[in-house]
Symmetry: C2
Subunit: 174 residues, 2 copies
């Protein structure tokens, strides 16, 4: 499972998304920044999550999606539109990439149209929007729920050798 | 469904929890502030959610839980401990109150011990904690999922007359 952040400007939001990813066991996150530079995620605010989550940067949607497709991911963009499927009706036990967008405009039209599917969180309030890190967490933990139910957490997907390598990589980061 | 916030100090966190509540259709929130005054939720940051969510204030855990029990709520506190049940194994389709705690210490021992049950979100990362508004949203939307699956959203729980009254109350708030 992976998360794609598209043009999220506020470093606090980037950090908060990373923290949600870490908590849900997501270890790789893709960043697409087409209209601005990659945000400088302050050492302090993102502190721990940045250390555990691997970031991959792309300059456009196409490059990112191409790479993810090559790696076997099905790409779901979060977007408010009629053909969006409820998060709870999507099978999240496969290799899925979740695209979350900008604080103000959501994901771009290009990122939505090129995705394999559109999902949305059913909401019942008057505001009809969630902070991006909150929405990401709700989606990721629904995936966690489905994966627990499917017995996918019973064994680690990493071999002992891979785990040792990961631990070494982490140890070498500040 | 209702949420109990215990001694959450940061007004931004209070606002963020209220926004998550609104999105999940929670219309009543309880505040327990034993060690500090009730936070002044800035008009700007909490903007919309504060308008739609009804707040009830308590000076101690006992008064709050007593009131909720009288109203028929089962109270679940979020707390890290061995006897905690996974969120995904708890029936959230009944009348449930979710207690979320302070940013730093979580819910108090009193609030945990007096609750009817302890729940936790299964986490897999290195940090093992979520921001309080994120955790609240993950719990509330699991309840939403269960309630959708149980067909509880097919009809409004409000009569037309009650809805008209609610709309009037909202219209009168700034």
């Amino acid at each position: 499972m992976t998360v794609v952040m598209e043009n999220i400007h506020d470093p606090h939001n980037v950090s908060a998304v990373l923290r949600s990813c870490d908590a849900a066991g997501v270890m790789d996150v893709q960043l697409i920044y087409t209209d601005v530079d990659f945000p400088d995620i302050g050492k302090k605010s993102s502190a721990s999550a940045k250390k555990w989550v691997e970031l991959r940067r792309f300059k456009n949607v196409n490059d990112c999606y191409k790479k993810l497709h090559e790696e076997g991911f099905t790409i779901f963009a979060t977007h408010l539109e009629k053909k969006a499927k409820s998060l709870f009706d999507v099978n999240m036990t496969k290799k899925v990439a979740i695209v979350v967008g900008n604080e103000h405009e959501g994901v771009s039209l290009e990122a939505a149209q090129s995705a394999d599917g559109i999902i949305q969180i059913p909401m019942f309030g008057m505001i009809q929007s969630l902070n991006v890190s909150v929405a990401t967490a709700v989606i990721l933990f629904e995936a966690v729920r489905q994966r627990i139910a499917a017995g996918q957490y019973d064994k680690s997907k990493y071999s002992d050798m891979e785990l040792t390598k990961l631990l070494k990589t982490w140890a070498m980061k500040e």
